[in-house]
């Protein structure tokens, strides 16, 4: 069974980091929403950047995991 999970490590890392990035992006955007100063604008922009990076990371990580699972089941 353990053989079926070969190659899961990297996509799992990508998925885990994306989840953490998503949570941070929510926090950054919430702070930006509360305080509309120039500094908060930077925080909001960073939050939006993190948000899209995390979505991209999720898509890549989960697709990669699926491919690794299919490859593992054929091994």
């Amino acid at each position: 069974m353990a053989d079926e999970q070969k190659g899961f490590s990297t996509p799992a890392k990508v998925t885990a980091i994306s989840a953490a990035l998503f949570l941070v992006s929510l926090g950054l955007c919430a702070v930006g929403g509360d305080f509309m100063s120039s500094q908060a604008g930077f925080l909001t922009q960073t939050g939006i950047l993190f948000f899209f990076l995390s979505i991209a990371g999720f898509l890549v990580g989960i697709a990669w995991l699926l491919i690794a699972a299919i490859a593992g089941s054929r091994r």
């Binding site: 069974m1 353990a2 079926e4 999970q5 070969k6 190659g7 899961f8 490590s9 996509p11 799992a12 890392k13 998925t15 885990a16 980091i17 994306s18 989840a19 953490a20 998503f22 949570l23 941070v24 992006s25 929510l26 926090g27 950054l28 955007c29 919430a30 702070v31 930006g32 929403g33 509360d34 305080f35 500094q39 908060a40 925080l43 939050g47 990580g61 995991l65």
Partner: protein, 237 residues
């Protein structure tokens, strides 16, 4: 003194700090799981924590502000209790799918204490912008978060509680123990703590408890039921 923009900084430090302690503990005490399986567990924890934290964060706001679908897309609204329960549930589902039958959470107990404690410092420094402050108090250590009213610094109470809990769990984990019991001990202690400390927070109540406390009750009931039901332990690689 209070700067809401410090909250995401400490949140990031919490993830980094928690992960560093996990790496240290895994190297020190070893791991029955392979790297591949451990990373699957971590990824499922992270995704489950994200969903759980967001769902309970939104539910928490329902008694006070009602529910509107647009809130799903509004930033903020995350809870640690939702993250812990969501992460735990996701891990159990993924373990069932990939066929891991052993308990896997002991390595996470102390890192979670460290991560949550660091995050709580950010909650404290965020002041009134973060909904984690306590009710007004006349006690000498009451903190004015900016509205002129001394309040219980519930975030700092939690930091102290987590420091003590981390020390106890570290010692427990260093001694021979039944697999999984340290993580369940952490969950029971933290959910029990939140059930009690949230009475000091000015949150809207539903039948005497706030939504986070109701989630704690559910989590504690699941832990108690798990202790009463026998479980066949196996070794996974």
């Amino acid at each position: 003194m209070f700067h809401p923009e410090l909250h995401p900084v400490f949140e990031t430090l919490a993830y980094v700090g928690g992960y560093s302690v996990y790496k240290f503990m895994r190297k020190r005490q070893g791991d029955a799981l392979s790297d591949e399986r451990r990373w699957l567990i971590i990824a499922s924890t992270a995704v489950g924590a994200l969903l759980g934290s967001r769902v309970l964060g939104l539910l928490e706001q329902v008694p006070g502000r009602g529910f509107h679908w647009q809130q799903i897309f509004v930033a903020g609204g995350k809870t640690i209790v939702g993250g812990l329960l969501g992460g735990w549930l996701a891990v159990e589902v993924v373990k069932w799918i990939v066929g891991i039958r052993s308990r896997t959470g002991d390595l996470f107990a102390v890192p979670l204490c460290v991560g949550i404690a660091i995050g709580r410092i950010g909650c404290f420094l965020a002041g009134l912008a973060d909904d984690t402050y306590g009710k007004p108090t006349a006690l000498p250590w009451g903190v004015d978060f900016g509205d002129g009213i001394p309040r219980h610094p519930t975030q700092l109470y939690e930091v102290v509680f987590l420091a003590v809990l981390a020390f106890l769990l570290w010692r427990w984990n260093s001694r021979p123990h039944k697999t999984g019991i340290v993580f369940r001990g952490f969950m029971a202690a933290y959910l029990g703590w939140r059930l009690v400390i949230d009475f000091l927070k000015p949150q809207p109540l539903v039948h005497g408890l706030n939504m986070i406390q109701w989630a704690c009750v559910v989590g504690l009931a699941v832990i108690a039921a798990g202790e009463l039901m026998p479980r066949k332990e196996t070794k996974d690689g």
